[in-house]
């Protein structure tokens, strides 16, 4: 589904990605972990077209996407969420949801003026879908609230709901559970598993090891921009190199957080 080959990306003085290769299989739930600053978000930015890579290749469904702008990557069926909410705050939760669907007729000016009926039909259809999804992420009561008034966790839920409105084939989530309360977290994980059964592919950054081991088929570990391990969640938790990476001073806190025993 998604194939990343030897991707490099550096910022002034730092190699944020140093030859990363990985593959996300169709219909899988794949996790990406690593200490703070290890390059996870950068990898997502490069894959989704928000940052240019310096070297390497990225393929989506066998098609090269590493030269495409982000909107075209999204058009090809890969959507991502942001670690820090980018939700337009002066738009309501519902407006945020309705923004997402691809190929909306009413986004073209000609159609907006001359095909009102069909647009209204499409809008109604999208509205129903939005309300349905909002109830599955438990934001339905906040439908007409400005996105700016949501809590951090609620914004994460909105991001997930919005991306489901766009209905991509592969979904990249950057720390989708940060700030979301534990009970809701569980239902989110169930939602993701259900969607996977429906054919969606997930690739996500997560710090909560419990979440990772509960739902991931495969996990990749980054450290200092390099892939240091890959495998099932069970294998990763035993991996010597992973443990070692986490033993290094700056990562100790993170190791504790994800529950790797140091």
């Amino acid at each position: 589904m998604l194939k990343v080959i030897d991707v490099h990306k550096s910022f002034v003085g730092i190699k944020a990605l140093d030859g990363v290769s990985l593959e996300v299989e169709r219909g899988s739930i794949t996790g990406l972990i690593g200490p703070n600053g290890s390059g996870k978000t950068t990898l997502f930015n490069v894959i989704s077209g928000f940052l240019p890579k310096e070297a390497g290749e990225i393929y989506l469904k066998g098609e090269r996407i590493d030269e495409l702008p982000p909107n075209e990557v999204a058009g090809k069926g890969l959507c991502r969420t942001f670690q820090i909410s980018q939700a337009p705050e002066k738009m309501t939760v519902l407006e945020n949801m309705l923004l997402a669907p691809k190929d909306q007729m009413g986004e073209g000016l000609w159609n907006a003026f001359f095909r009102k009926k069909r647009i209204m039909h499409q809008e109604r259809h999208n509205l129903e879908k939005a309300l349905y999804l909002l109830s599955s992420v438990e934001l339905i009561d906040l439908s007409n609230e400005y996105a700016g008034n949501l809590s951090g966790g609620q914004k994460k839920l909105l991001a997930l709901g919005r991306i489901l409105m766009a209905d991509p084939e592969i979904i990249l989530l950057d720390e989708p559970t940060a700030g979301v309360n534990p009970t809701l977290n569980k239902s989110l994980m169930r939602l993701i598993e259900d969607l996977r059964k429906g054919g969606k592919t997930f690739f996500f950054v997560e710090h909560n090891m419990k979440v990772i081991s509960d739902i991931c088929d495969k996990v990749y570990v980054l450290d200092f921009g390099r892939k240091i391990a890959e495998g099932t969640p069970g294998e990763i938790q035993q991996n010597e190199e992973v443990l070692e990476a986490y033993l290094s001073g700056s990562s100790r806190e993170w190791s504790r957080k994800v529950g790797i025993d140091t």
Partner: protein
């Protein structure tokens, strides 16, 4: 007095169109367009060229002015597509000055004869259907034309901002990243907002040229952009009624010198400069105490 009121209403209506079109670009799309007067100027000059030189009818001038200004809006959004907001503001400011300086320096356009062009301006621009009315009734007829244009502009902007198209514009107002991640081609939307808003600004320009029947480049100084901004900011950005209310208020202050000079013993010249100070103070007060302007943006409620 009633004559003056008609004049004031016409100018308010014309500025109302400018305010609505800037509201589409700034209020809804977040485009810091500091060169809005360029549309006004292009609309006025294009319409004048089409009616005076080409001898076309008023309506041709009107449409031509809109097309020229819309095209200009489209064109300036191409090289500026990747500029950050502050640079974008400066680029549009400069573009507007280029348009004005073009008409200031290229005086060959209007040739010789009664029309001088360049710094001398162009006089004798025909007013539509002037022979049908007397000098006292004509302003009321022209007011009707302006109101018609204003109403059409209002409903067009309202329709656009309520459509799925407008939803993308609103999302872009808070940054490109999210709309991009949702697959929206933001630069295309920006171009359309500039072209559409530009065409409306051109309409206002054409209306002003045929009303004054004289234009010169000094009527299109950057300060005009500032006045339109004041209207949007004071009235309430992102609210079309607000943009209109702002136009009424600012136009009132702008024209108040004509009333005040009878009551306040200040030199007319000083008074004319003072009104800008008044408008400036008004903006500062609004920024401090009513950030969203007099009329807040309306929340869009979708009924399930």
């Amino acid at each position: 007095m009633i004559q003056y009121l008609a004049y004031l209403s016409i100018m308010t209506g014309i500025y109302g169109i400018l305010s609505l079109s800037l509201n589409l670009q700034y209020g809804f799309t977040g485009l810091a367009n500091f060169g809005h007067v360029a549309f006004f100027c292009l609309g006025a000059y294009t319409s004048t060229i089409l009616v005076v030189l080409v001898k076309g009818p008023f309506i041709l001038g009107l449409l031509g002015g809109m097309v020229a200004a819309g095209l200009f809006g489209f064109l300036i959004s191409i090289p500026t597509a990747n500029l950050k907001e502050d640079y974008w503001a400066i680029a549009t400011l400069a573009a507007a000055e280029i348009v004005r300086l073009f008409f200031l320096n290229e005086d060959w356009i209007f040739g010789r004869g009664p029309y001088h062009g360049g710094a001398f301006g162009i006089g004798g621009i025909p007013r539509p259907l002037q022979s049908w009315f007397s000098a006292t009734t004509y302003p009321f007829f022209y007011l009707c034309i302006v109101i018609l244009c204003l109403v059409l502009t209002y409903f067009t902007v309202r329709f656009l901002t309520n459509s799925p198209f407008g939803r993308v514009l609103k999302a872009m107002r808070e940054g490109d990243d999210l709309p991009l991640a949702m697959g929206k081609d933001v630069s295309k939307f920006r171009m359309k907002a500039m072209a559409f808003g530009g065409a409306m600004g051109g309409l206002a320009g054409s209306l002003v040229a045929h009303f004054w029947s004289f234009i010169d480049p000094y009527q299109f100084m950057p300060i005009e952009t500032f006045v339109v901004w004041a209207m949007v900011v004071v009235g309430g950005k992102g609210n079309n009624i607000g943009a209109l209310v702002g136009a009424v208020i600012i136009q009132f202050f702008y024209s108040s010198t004509l009333f005040l000079k009878d009551f306040i013993p200040i030199d007319a010249q000083v008074l004319a400069s003072l009104r800008m100070v008044v408008i400036g103070v008004l903006i500062v007060l609004i920024m401090l105490f009513m950030k969203e302007g007099l009329i807040k943006e309306k929340k869009r409620i979708y009924q399930g």
